[in-house]
């Protein structure tokens, strides 16, 4: 073989090897440190999916939509994101509950997502991957967190450190979910501003109990329990106390003119029997009252009559 022929063969071999390498690289699944991208067609539209290969975190977005959802399968945490701003962070009690919520929102099951990602392509990370709640300005970009405990009231009490009534039914409605919630953002009206507190609003820990279902998974009665904080005027408990003490809202006894025996978070002593519960009605759907050392805000879907409010409030304070 002449040297010229040898060079030609060598060039062909090199070109073939280069082509093979290119084909291999372009068709291989994305590896650790990169992002894999896939699409799924659902009845609600096309869903874009990215997976961070190093962490396993998934990002879902309806194709072209401004908002997205980031899901960490290892911590059952779902983060709602607007552009690059975190708006909500929900942690669910199990992988199945978290996947169920992702599925019902995007119409994609865990197996569909796993399969799509397995045959996905290498991609750059989506903009939502940059979202980081701890560094965002909450005055202009508020966000909220939720740690869901399903109907486990013991875990809710432990998680919040608040007094929680042992109440699995309220006014005939079953307890459907509970959560420890906290929100950050502009939580005060201009007239309520206290120095630098305005705009740095932290609601403090709030224990929420939701009763009944409206047929879509929404609650019919929500019960929020929060503590007053002498150092945080934006805490929900501080706002509840302030609104309760305001003469702007009518106050009533539940039930009018009679007393009963509440079980308080601090004590179950019958020495506290004979207590009358007074509540402030701030709206057709909303009331506030004190429960031991905590404050309780109740909101309903339809406006209760006065006797229904009595039933709801007694149900809470006697458990």
């Amino acid at each position: 073989m002449s040297r010229r022929r040898q060079r030609s063969v060598g060039l062909v071999v090199l070109l073939a090897a280069g082509l093979a390498l290119t084909l291999f690289v372009s068709s291989r699944p994305a590896k650790a440190g990169t992002t894999t991208y896939a699409q799924l067609q659902t009845s609600n539209g096309t869903v874009d999916i990215w997976q961070d290969n190093s962490t396993g975190v998934l990002t879902f977005q309806y194709d072209g939509a401004p908002d997205s959802l980031r899901f960490d399968p290892s911590s059952f945490t779902v983060t709602g994101i607007d552009g690059t701003s975190v708006v909500s962070v929900d942690t669910y009690p199990s992988s199945s509950v978290a996947w169920s919520n992702v599925d019902s929102q995007f119409g994609v099951s865990q197996s569909q997502v796993t399969s799509a990602i397995a045959s996905g392509t290498s991609s750059t990370a989506p903009a939502a991957a940059l979202a980081n709640a701890s560094t965002q300005n909450v005055t202009s970009s508020p966000y909220q967190t939720a740690v869901h405990y399903a109907t486990n009231l013991t875990n809710l009490a432990t998680g919040t450190g608040l007094g929680i009534p042992s109440l699995t039914y309220l006014d005939g409605y079953a307890l459907v979910d509970t959560a420890k919630n906290e929100a950050y953002g502009p939580d005060l009206a201009d007239s309520e501003s206290v120095g630098s507190y305005k705009g740095s609003g932290d609601t403090g820990k709030v224990a929420n109990l939701w009763y009944g279902s409206d047929g879509t998974g929404g609650d019919l009665i929500s019960v929020s329990i929060a503590a007053y904080s002498s150092t945080n005027p934006t805490a929900d408990g501080s706002i509840y106390q302030s609104l309760y003490n305001s003469s702007s809202y009518p106050h009533y006894y539940a039930p009018p003119g009679s007393t009963f025996c509440p079980t308080t978070p601090a004590s179950t002593s019958t020495a506290e029997c004979g207590v009358t519960i007074q509540y402030a009605q701030t709206d057709d759907f909303d009331v506030i009252f004190q429960y031991g050392s905590e404050w309780v805000g109740v909101t309903t879907t339809t406006a209760p009559s006065s006797s229904e409010w009595d039933t709801i409030i007694q149900g809470i304070v006697t458990h």
Partner: protein, 224 residues
Amino acid sequence: VVCHLRSRPSLLAGAILLVLAGMSLYAATRASAASTWTYSDSGCTHREDPRNLRFDNLNGQAYDPVSGQTSGIEPRILLIQIGSYLWDGGLGSHDSYVNFPSSNGGCLDQAGYDTTSWSSGWHVRYWQGTTSFASLYGAAHHDYSCGTFHHQSDWWNWAAVKLANYFAAGFADAKTQKTDFSESKIRQRQPSWHLHGCGHVAYDNGLTDVITQTVPTATIIIAG
């Protein structure tokens, strides 16, 4: 004696009247708590979203840059047009109601909306009374998909802040290129947390963003 006999029934009747008046006052007070929620039904009985926006002193005009003509517009049209510069292109908007005083229309359906929402996105509805335009109302939220072809609302506070910021700092008057609105916050509801479909929590901090027009006339451009 006659006087005595006549006075006792009078006292009794007076007492009954006092009790009845007290009961009426109690009932009236209980029923008078004004709600700043919106309603999902035309009877204004079922709570829907927080009415978290109020627009004061609106007075607008449309400017046609081709003809150079201006024409007066309804306040609700001013809102819809400015809001569309921020949120535009969505699918539509369900009926939703606000309970105005009876002298200003009572329970009224929305007067317009802006949205980006197809499967998910941003959405604001506006309401305008029938006789007084001193204050118009808005309710802003984020839509998220939950089940096939169903939407639910969340991120109420974030949506109101975005829209209020746009009116106060994002929109520039079509003629002056300056700001036409200021923004402040008032408390109208207690903080509340709601469980919505697909495990979402919707938080209402109870605040209403009040957007006040600070110029006599706000001008928007209309296509020629």
